[in-house]
């Protein structure tokens, strides 16, 4: 019988990116005994990759900005499917959360009068993103990490969670194993915060690292939590396309915020050709006006390159498919052209976009101050996730909370750039606070030992099958191909039905996955375990995308290319039925209070 190392906490936080760390700090401050589990080393989570900035209506650069505008921008970006309560709280609390980071040592770029500087970003009406060059995420995670380690939290690095545990209908903790030795671990807890991030690894071209296999979503789904908005997967318009081995790695929207433009192989700025009605009034008429906007002219409107990500991604996709793409199947993103407009542009670019300069120089042998980059869409972010209460972030399972990318609601059908980092701290803080309160109000839990043992035995299956089992890497690769080709940027019912068939077959293969060697840091074993989660989320994405028969936000249906106001009244909710089948249903939106409707009206 497999042995377990046992730990006991008030609050267990699973995931140590921005949301997880912020939740852990808050729960600790409320007096809870906190355990944190991370899949990698501490400080390596995907928050590190966030480049452009953290959105907060500080109004340091443009005093017309306030929470009302930020709220309205977020709702418009999300095509009004957002959980309005979350959008409201987010817009109101983001500024204080940014200041909190500064109080803990984060050093943002400054305005001339010494305040936190803010930059333009797609979908934000005013310059709103506090930033540190183009490595804002690193600054944020390091600040939270360096503050967090002194708050008494116990960190379990490089652990994989196999299962959430229930006591009756209430959460009781989690079990899993450490990667180093493969020892099984039990983390008993009165409340659990999931902060496991996204699902990018289900697709072939992604900005996400190996970790993002939808673990939190699948874990929560299996214990009865509802998932929501799973059809909305954000394809970031600008990922690297060459060399092939770095395909998908992110090129920050900050490049366009600083004046970078998109051109096709004919040299045309194709974004001017297709501006959606919803944004016509806010978009520049000419290249000249767009340039002035990026240089801080408050009377100018933004260039079309800064339209929402879903739209820019589709436009790039269209250019490539109609044969106007770049040599390696992308389009050109050019920041070097600004040399026509300013002296010492090379220095400017290196100062504003240092890690982009570095990334292209080292990985593609290309100097972005002199030549255009080649870019194309990359799977970047999951708008959908665990359905939570807007105030407390608690899921439909008592004691199970979710914050950050793994939770649904804030972003609706499409996320604005910069709203992710603020999401992490605003809702990480809330989840931590409410989880600590839940733990405080509820007594100890009892662990179901039979379930624990069964989980461990099942996890060892890949070793029993050994090399005669299916190669887990090959199954993962085939799943990525399936999702990329059949449930990608442009979707159609027949292809998605094919995808569902393929996912069914992949599930059967995943159950036969095998690996060589022993339990010590065995990547093959880890991949075999991840597959189960990837398959659950891939199925959920596909089923939700099939049901939503319209195009809205990140979901584009070739067979239903128009937006349908009727569909604008519903979220799609996914849950697990008693017999283990995946159920998909329409759920009417909660009506928005009049005062928030008024905010949207007055900021139109």
């Amino acid at each position: 019988m497999p042995e377990f190392q046992r730990f006991s906490y008030d609050v267990l936080v699973i995931g140590a990116g921005g949301a997880g760390l912020r939740a852990a700090i808050e729960a600790g401050a409320a007096g809870a005994k906190v355990g944190v589990i991370c899949k990698s080393l501490l400080g390596k989570a995907h928050t590190v990759m966030a480049e452009g900035g953290i959105a907060a209506a500080l109004a340091n650069v443009d005093d017309r900005d306030n929470w009302r505008v930020h709220f309205a921008d977020t709702m418009r970006g999300g095509q009004y499917l957002n959980n309005w309560r979350m959008a409201e709280l987010h817009a109101k609390e983001a500024p204080e959360c940014v200041c909190e980071l500064e109080a803990w040592g984060a050093l943002f770029d400054r305005t001339t009068d010494g305040k936190i500087l803010q930059r333009n970003f797609g979908g934000h009406r005013y310059p709103r993103l506090a930033h540190v060059g183009d490595r804002t995420g690193l600054e944020m995670i390091r600040t939270l990490q360096d503050h967090g380690i002194h708050t008494g939290m116990e960190v379990h690095m490089e652990c994989t969670v196999l299962r959430l545990l229930l006591d009756g209908n209430r959460i009781a903790g989690a079990c899993g194993y450490d990667r180093e030795k493969g020892r099984f671990q039990l983390w008993e807890a009165k409340a659990v915060v999931l902060a496991t991030g996204g699902v990018g690894r289900s697709f072939k071209v992604t900005s996400n690292s190996w970790e993002y296999t939808g673990d939190g979503l699948a874990l929560a789904y299996r214990v009865g939590a509802e998932l929501q908005d799973m059809e909305f997967v954000q394809f970031h318009p600008t990922g690297m396309v060459w060399p092939i081995s770095v395909r998908g790695i992110l090129v920050t929207e900050g490049v366009r915020g600083e004046g970078g433009v998109l051109r096709n192989s004919e040299g045309r700025r194709f974004m001017f050709d297709d501006i959606p009605d919803l944004y016509k009034e806010q978009t520049a008429d000419s290249e000249e006006e767009g340039w002035r906007y990026t240089q801080g002219d408050k009377n100018a409107r933004r260039p079309p390159e800064l339209l929402t990500r879903d739209h820019v991604a589709r436009c790039i996709n269209r250019e490539v498919k109609t044969g106007r793409g770049s040599p390696h199947g992308g389009v050109f993103l050019d920041i070097s052209w600004i040399k026509e407009r300013m002296p010492k542009s090379g220095e400017y670019i290196k100062r504003k976009l240092p890690s982009m300069y570095h990334q292209f120089k080292q990985l593609a042998d290309l100097d972005i101050t002199k030549e255009p980059m080649e870019v194309g869409p990359t799977t970047h972010y999951m708008m959908g996730g665990i359905r939570v209460d807007g105030d407390s972030q608690m899921s439909t399972v008592p004691g199970l909370f979710a914050a950050g990318e793994v939770a649904a609601g804030l972003h609706g059908a499409n996320r604005l750039g910069g709203n992710s980092l603020s999401d992490l701290v605003v809702f990480g803080r809330r989840a931590g606070r409410f989880a600590a309160a839940f733990a405080n109000a509820n007594g100890p839990v009892t662990i179901n030992e039979t379930e624990l043992q069964a989980t461990a035995t099942a996890a060892l299956g890949p070793f029993d099958r050994g090399l005669s089992g299916e190669n887990p890497y090959q199954i993962q690769y085939d799943l990525q191909e399936t999702m990329q080709d059949l449930v990608g940027i442009v979707r159609v019912e027949s292809e998605m039905q094919q995808a569902l068939d393929a996912i069914g077959q992949l599930r059967a293969r995943a159950e036969r996955a095998g690996t060589a060697g022993n339990r010590e840091y065995n990547n093959g074993w880890h991949t075999a375990i991840d597959l189960g989660n990837m398959i659950v989320v891939s199925e959920a994405i596909t089923r939700a995308a099939v049901l939503r028969k319209e195009s809205r936000g990140a979901q584009f249906r070739e067979d239903f290319p128009a937006k349908d106001s009727e569909w604008g009244k519903y979220n799609i909710v996914i849950s697990r039925s008693a017999d283990g089948e995946m159920q998909v249903e329409k759920r009417a939106l909660t009506p928005m209070p009049d005062e928030l409707k008024k905010v949207i009206e007055e900021t139109k």
């Binding site: 390596k44 590190v48 690996t515 990547n523």
Partner: protein
């Protein structure tokens, strides 16, 4: 065009190990980590390697490639002579867990011994601070650190002399410098740097600076100024005299 290349990878665990050769096709634009992944997927599913972002931003895939401490994800094969086997081995300054993965947890424990950031009271009534960009920039260099620990790997105090219990190494001296030079910080770490972290063990060979993938000027901008602060406080004869008076 794919051409075959040989990778000589160290396989083993704390009990011992050996190099093993793998041949895999190599294409334009590939980095060492791509080749390691190919070998893992095609030949050896249990080959242990640690990685995350694949873009030089997370600092997970540190290893020694042809004897040089480097990030596998940022080492392009086009910059390596592929007529010879490419030697890939784990960092030497830390205990091996398995294959290319080492136990770097000491860095996390050692970091906790450095006094944490302590801000001065806010400058404005709304609880915020006013800082000039120039003051931010001085420290931002240190805050670029991705904690890959390659500087720790190459530091002879750790690598050759195993002074992990007495010396915090270049990464954590950079961390201390970022705190000491932070425009808002009010904590004093000078005494700790001398007595607890033994900054004096560093004899400025600049090996750490040479391997930093973020090109942080570790020695000149971080360690030497900290040494100066220590010298200023404890070894300045005039100040000593004043203290006696």
């Amino acid at each position: 065009m794919a051409t075959p290349a040989t990778f000589r990878i160290w396989r083993g665990d704390p009990a011992g190990g050996a190099f093993q050769d793998y041949t895999t096709p190599v294409e334009e634009g590939m980095v060492v980590l791509d080749a390691v992944h190919r070998i893992q997927a095609q030949h050896s599913p249990d080959l242990a390697v640690r990685w995350n972002c694949k873009a030089g931003k997370c600092g997970s895939c540190s290893a020694e490639i042809n004897g040089m401490p480097r990030l596998m994800c940022m080492t392009r094969l086009s910059a390596i002579d592929l007529n010879m086997p490419v030697i890939v081995e784990p960092m030497h300054a830390f205990p091996v867990i398995r294959d290319l993965v080492t136990d770097v947890s000491w860095n996390y424990r050692a970091k906790k011994t450095i006094k944490q950031f302590k801000a001065r009271p806010p400058d404005a009534a709304d609880g915020t601070w006013r800082i000039q960009q120039a003051d931010v920039e001085r420290v931002q260099e240190f805050r670029k650190c991705i904690e890959c620990f390659l500087c720790q790997d190459v530091c002879h105090v750790l690598r050759e002399h195993h002074k992990h219990d007495e010396f915090i190494g270049p990464r954590l001296l950079v961390y201390a410098a970022a705190l000491e030079m932070h425009p808002l910080d009010t904590e004093d770490r000078v005494s700790d740097l001398r007595y607890l972290h033994n900054i004096g063990y560093c004899n400025i060979t600049t090996c750490c600076r040479q391997v930093c993938p973020e090109s942080i000027t570790i020695t000149e901008n971080a360690i030497i100024p900290l040494k100066e602060r220590v010298a200023d406080r404890y070894f300045d004869p005039l100040k000593r005299l004043f203290r006696i008076l």
